[in-house]
Amino acid sequence: MPLDAMSDISDEALLVLFANGDRRAARALTLRLTPRVLNHAHRLLGNAAEAEDVAQEAMLRLWKIAPDWRQGEALVTTWLYRVVANLCTDRLRRVRPVTLEAAAEPVDQSAGPVARLQGAERTNALQRALARLPDRQRQAIVLRHIDELGNPQIAEIMGIGVEAVESLLARGKRALSADLIDRREELGFEDDERS
C-alpha cells in the first residue's frame, strides 16, 4: 500500500498495522504525529532542542505500546498529548536556566519581511507569556488555542472535568491578556488596525 493511501487510515489502525510489522505504517505515523508532538512540546517547554527530545521519547513510547494498544479506549493523539505533558512536566520540574531567547523561533516563511518580523515577534511574545503561566493553565491554553482541540478531549488529556478545563482557560486567557495587551503597539497590532 503506498504511503499516500494511508492518509485515510486512522491513527489507531496504523498503530495496529505497525504492531503487525508494517513499516509503512510507522512512516505514516511518524510524518503525521511527530509535528504535532513536537509543536506541543515546544509550546510547553519554550525550548526547541528539549522539545525534539520530548517528541522522540513520546514517539518511542508509542512504538512500544503498539502491541498492547487497547483499541477503542482512547484516541492515539489523546494518549500522546498526555505522554508529552508528563515528559514536559518532568523536565520543567528540573532546575534549568531559562533559555527562551536561545531557542530557535518558528518563522512564517510565507509572509513578507515586515509581517514576518511581526509574526515572529508575536510568537516570541506569546512564548514568553506562556512560560510565565502556571503549568496547568499553559497546557490548557496550548491544547485549546494552538492545537485547537475541543474541551472534552482536553479534559481527557488532563484528567479533569470539562468545567475545570473552562476555568483553566478563562484564568489563562486573563493572565495572557494582561501580559500581552500592554505590548500591543510594540507587537504591531496598532498597524493591523490602521491597515
Partner: protein, 121 residues
Amino acid sequence: MTKDHDDIRTLDDVFRAARDAPMEPSPELLARVLADAEAVGAALRPVRNEAGPPRADRLRDVFRALGGWPAMTGLAAATVAGIWIGLSPPAGLQAGLSAPDAAYIVDLAPGAVVDPAWEAL
C-alpha cells in the same frame, strides 16, 4: 470597540500567528523517530514469527470459537445422548431401523422412450 473586544482580538491574533508558524520537525528528528520505530518493530517481529501463540492460547481460541461454556454444555449433552442411544437404542427406533423396508420405484413418465443419439448412427 471596547477594551474587552480589543483584548480578545489581540489574543486571537497572537494565537493565529503561533498556529501559522509551526515548528517543522528536522529531517534528523524524523530519522531518529523512524529508527526507533524500526528497532522496536524488529524486536516485535521474531516473537510473532517464530514462537506463535502458545498451545494453551490456541486451545483457548478454539474454546472461544465454539461459543464458550454455554455451547460446551450443549455439546456435552448431545455427546452423552448419542452414546446412550448407540449403546441401548429405544425400542421404537430399533424397530424403525431394522424392519425390511420395501423400496418403491415410481415411473414419472411412463410413455417416454429413451432414444440415445448414438443408436441412430
